[in-house]
């Protein structure tokens, strides 16, 4: 075992248990939309959201990170993974929405560590969070790549 090893490479393929349900609230959607400057009223006006065919107000495209990061956190703080959080940099993020996240949803996430690659002493870890409602409807697939820089 090299002392500067940034992450346990044996974690590729690991699947974590489902996260506790995340209750998607109207006011949280509004707050997040304001914070990213998303002005579409579908994030704040229920009547408009319903007129467009949604059950309630819907979240902006990157809102899913709130739930995905709860999934990722399980891996990042896993003592067996051995990650030094202070060396972690977000490299890449992707969302595939199966349908918009909607106020009233209760969403659980299942995290899979898709790959762990060592590149010049740095570790590149790709994780995938499959987000679905507690009723089992697929909502979003969030994929994240982080780089954990090697120690000096």
């Amino acid at each position: 075992m090299v002392a500067a090893m940034a992450v346990n490479a044996g974690f590729a393929g690991r699947v974590y248990p489902p996260t506790p349900p995340y209750a998607v609230g109207r006011e949280k959607i509004r707050e997040f939309a304001e914070a990213v400057g998303a002005q579409d009223i579908v994030h704040s006006d229920q009547g408009q959201a319903r007129a467009r065919g949604y059950r309630d107000v819907i979240a902006p495209p990157t809102f899913a990170v709130l739930i995905a990061q709860k999934c990722d956190w399980q891996f990042i703080v896993d003592p067996e993974a051995g990650i030094d959080f202070s060396r972690l940099v977000h490299g890449e993020q992707r969302f595939v929405h199966h349908r918009p996240i909607t106020a009233g949803d209760e969403i659980v996430g299942v995290l899979t560590v898709d790959s762990v690659k060592m590149v010049g002493g740095n570790a590149m870890v790709t994780t995938r969070s499959e987000l679905s409602t507690i009723e089992g409807e697929a909502v979003c697939t969030a994929t994240s790549t982080v780089v954990i820089r090697a120690g000096e």
């Binding site: 949280k28 997040f32 990213v36 998303a38 579409d40 579908v42 007129a51 495209p61 992707r94």
Partner: protein, 143 residues
């Protein structure tokens, strides 16, 4: 219907989306810190940021990603039509106290699938001479 969502016939490959400048200051970052629960002090505490070798506080990559896609949502006419969105974080957006930072966001249609009613938009986000997002791509569903 009061909102107008773009139809397949409104869109063609090579079409440019209306661009926009996103101004970022400390208030922007504190607001996003609160909303996103990403409370890493590199985004709001310049002493901390400098102590880990950064020139100043930097914007959350996820803030820039979230703000950039508004160009697409507003153009298509409904944020719920953005069905895929991904990017790389290529350079940090440094946000000095006095002047903040401006991120220029542009978009161009790179593919159109008339059968599936889907369009692909490539976004660019630049701060000064730095490309801050790499391979930023959104897929939208049209009417």
């Amino acid at each position: 219907m009061t909102n107008a969502v773009l139809s397949v016939s409104d869109v063609e490959v090579g079409q440019s989306l209306p661009s926009r400048t996103v101004h970022i200051n400390r208030a922007t970052l504190v607001q996003y810190t609160g909303a996103s629960l990403d409370r890493n002090p590199i985004h709001w505490d310049e002493r901390f940021a400098r102590s880990v070798g950064l020139p100043d506080v930097i914007a959350h990559g996820m803030f820039t990603m979230g703000a950039a896609v508004n160009v697409v949502s507003d153009w298509v006419g409904d944020a719920g039509r953005v069905v895929e969105y991904g990017t790389r974080f290529t350079k940090p957006v440094v946000v000095p106290y006095e002047i903040g930072a401006d991120v220029e966001v542009t978009g161009v249609v790179t593919a159109l699938d008339t059968q599936a009613r889907r369009a692909t938009v490539a976004l660019t986000a630049t701060c000064g001479t730095d490309k801050v997002l790499g391979r930023a791509v959104a897929v939208i569903v049209l009417d």
